[in-house]
């Protein structure tokens, strides 16, 4: 009358292709949703996927159907006190009572279709603007690496993991424990046999009985299995996170009046990219936000990106502050220091040589990498020239003028290249 098939072992991602097709088709909408989500996210929070909302009308699959109006008769269950001929006011929103069921069915889909992007899909969308090379993408999207380490022994496992010494010890112990009573008896009987005289006729019968008994006990002992399944011990292995060291990331940003929100969003992507890279390589990361106009201030992330102040620009104030913080809190012996600076290039012109000095003499010896982006379509100013000198001197310094998200990645190219090698 039928047979059973266990399909559980078969692949479960039968719908993966269709899901990809869906995402591909609505890429434009999803990308918009992703960049909206970016502005609400902390740069440290790149681990989770994202809930995406798409207007349902964009992805409706139309069919011919009736609109409201005309004459229709609808049957409902659960009459309480209606009698034939009763008249009722039309419920608000038209459609009539009859439309109720229909309206709520469709209503669900009408406003927004929302679903969850996985972390990989989210990062994929995020990376897309940045035009990252594939190698780098996979590098960044990878989760923490684990290592298998020995973790004692277990009672089950695969034959190749059998631990011979442990198993034999176990077998020995079992044989000792189970055989002990027999051996005790045996010793006793042997002592008695020994006590009997060898040739006395009177003892012959007893000697025979004792010998038979000894024989029986010895057979018992011999019959005990040398090794049994429950003696087996297997090497146990457990997953452990790869130990890695810690890093601190300094985010420096100019918040003078000329940095508008669009530029700040671009800067945010720049910081996120560095953060993701660090996250990939270090177990523990701290982020320090320093914003500056004429004076620098250490702030939290919210304030860093979203509060506005105006004023002139003295970049060296931020560099000085970074140096102080680094010296004070993050000794290079135990911290890897990275820094990312975003600015529109505007600086008080006598300050630029000072910045160069700060960088080459104090900061660059401390940091592993210093990335600078200048977010401006305009011509360079004095800061850029000063930094060009720094770049010539220090290999771990990278700079770039950017006008769109795609320009960000080249700043990090060396950094990623070094890691991939």
């Amino acid at each position: 009358m039928g047979h059973f098939i266990d399909r559980r072992i078969d692949g479960k991602n039968k719908s993966a292709v269709n899901r990809q097709r869906f995402i591909k088709r609505f890429k434009a909408q999803i990308k918009r949703a992703v960049s909206d989500a970016m502005s609400e996210r902390s740069i440290r929070d790149m681990h989770s996927g994202e809930k995406i909302n798409i207007p349902a009308r964009d992805l409706s699959e139309p069919v011919f159907h009736h609109g409201s109006g005309g004459e229709r008769q609808i049957i409902h269950p659960g009459n309480k006190d209606f009698v034939e001929g009763d008249r009722l006011p039309r419920p608000r929103g038209g459609g009539g009572r009859g439309g109720e069921g229909q309206a709520s069915n469709q209503g669900q889909g009408e406003d927004e279709f929302s679903f969850q992007l996985s972390r990989e899909e989210f990062l994929e969308m995020f990376f897309e603007d940045l035009e990252l090379p594939n190698l780098v993408k996979t590098e960044l999207a990878k989760l923490t690496e684990y290592k298998w380490v020995r973790a004692g022994y277990s009672t089950d496992g695969v034959p190749s993991n059998i631990n011979v010494v442990r198993s034999l010890k176990q077998s020995l112990a079992r044989r000792q424990a189970l055989g002990a009573p027999y051996r005790a008896q045996l010793r006793e009987l042997e002592a008695r046999l020994h006590a009997l005289s060898d040739d006395s006729e009177a003892d012959a019968a007893e000697r025979e009985a004792l010998s038979a008994e000894i024989e029986r006990l010895q057979a018992r002992l011999r019959g005990m299995p040398f090794i049994d399944t429950y003696d087996l011990r297997y090497n146990n292995r457990a997953k452990q996170e790869q130990p890695s060291s810690q890093a601190v990331m300094f985010c420096l940003m100019d918040v003078s009046g000329s940095m508008n929100q669009a530029r700040k969003d671009l800067a945010k992507r720049f910081f996120i990219l560095l953060y993701l890279f660090l996250e990939r390589n270090y177990e523990h990361i701290e982020v320090v936000f320093i914003r500056h106009h004429t004076i620098a201030k250490e702030v939290d992330e919210q304030e860093f990106f979203y509060s506005r102040e105006t004023g002139d620009t003295v970049v060296s104030s931020a560099l000085e502050m970074m140096y102080d913080i680094a010296r004070e809190r993050y000794p290079t012996a135990s911290w890897n220091i990275y820094a990312a600076q975003a600015s529109d290039g505007d600086n008080w012109h006598t300050d630029s040589p000072l910045c160069q000095q700060w960088l080459t003499e104090s900061i660059m010896p401390l940091v592993r990498y210093f990335a600078y982006v200048e977010i401006t379509p305009d011509r360079h100013q004095s800061l850029w020239e000063a930094y060009e000198d720094v770049q010539a001197q220090c290999p771990q310094f990278a700079m770039r003028q950017i006008d769109g998200p795609a320009d960000i990645y080249p700043v990090f190219r060396d950094l990623f290249k070094r890691q991939a090698a």
Partner: protein, 497 residues
Amino acid sequence: MKRLVISESSDWTFPLLERYNQELGRIAAQYPLDIYPNQIEIITAEQMMDAYSAVGMPLGYHHWSYGKRFVATEQNYRRGQMGLAYEVVINSNPCIAYLMEENTLTMQALVIAHACYGHNSFFKGNYLFRTWTSADAIIDYLLFAKNYITECEQRYGQETVELFLDSCHALMNYGVDRYKRPAPLSATAERLRQQEREAYLQTQINDLWRTIPVQGHTADQTPETRFPAEPQENILYFIEKNAPLLEPWQREVVRIVRKLGQYFYPQRQTQVMNEGWATFWHYTLLNQMYDEGLLSDGFMIEFLQSHTNVIAQPDFDSPYYSGINPYALGFAMMSDIRRICEHPDQEDRYWFPDIAGQDWVKVLDFAMRNFKDESFIAQYLSPKVMRQFKLFAVLDDDQQRELAISAIHDERGYRRLRQALADQYNLGSQEPNIQIYSVDHRGDRSLTLVHTRYNRKPLAANAQEMLKHLYRLWGFSVRLETLLEDGRREPVAAIEH
């Protein structure tokens, strides 16, 4: 009796499932239920979501809309807004049923009874399924369709094929011959015929659009001949055969979608019957097992709780109300037919003189074989069930300021109520009646469709959207008109080439 109990445990194992299946099969054979052989597959929750989003096709071609369904299902399931169906069953021979591994033993037994004996026998017996689907061939055909579409994607590009499929899907419900018996499906024959058909069709179409004037006729002498001679209800079929610009592969894709529409056509018309029948039989079979002492009390309590949930019918003013529950109505009607046969009262003898007191197995079997929801309700909905559900009819007429209660479950209302409910399940009146009316084959090749209005119900606002899809298939101007009650034709939407 206690010693006969199959199992007290709630964890299932394959030997236990076999055992339940055997017992159910034995009991089902006593009635007898005529079934296809069963192929019961155990799957995980994730696989169930896959099965779900593939709208009941064990292997479908790839399309974003299935991805959308999967994403939505997954989302709801994760949020806990929705439990997964306990089972998915496929109308094929052998009949494939999916059981979810998370189910308890009781649920598995319920599902086996419901799907593998209930739905299975319905698929095999009901006239709609017998006429419109061929269970032997469907799996092969789906495989053929999947491979064909993949091949098209490789040859013509994924996006081209996907957009084309969108348009076909939009018209899927209009790809069915409602009155003609369709040709049976067969994958091998399909493959063999396909090439032949491609070449042949192309010549046919070219002939229709031939511009060389026929000798002996001049344009003004020819009587006005309309093409097609009669309105065509099967829009996709008409497109497949007559659309001037389609490539052969596109015609084949239209055909594939049309065949799938046809495969699902019976399901859309037999929800109440199909679910009612399956629910009735899982209830009957498991109760008999209990009577034979094979099931423990604990099993029965768990079973009854699930069963009660399945057939719950919230009232119209309940926040959980979302229309009439087909399980509830179907089960109530099936059980009621049995009651009328076994214990008829005065009312039943008046309403159902020909079945009152008859053998219930035969009567129920006849009903299952020869009806669809609409006719089943019109024939068998008894006053008792109407009273049990406290049914009432609301008349919503946009020319009246208020709604009217047009019938309730009383002597005056029974017949009207029954007719109205039957009509509610009539696809013919639920879906707009749209047919291909004419093609201007001497002029601009424009296609005109006519929507025949029913009870003054207008088309929804997406008609223009729909015409875009039709336009993609036809390739020239497409117009849609509504035929009003007074015989006038009124334009609704149009796309000009």
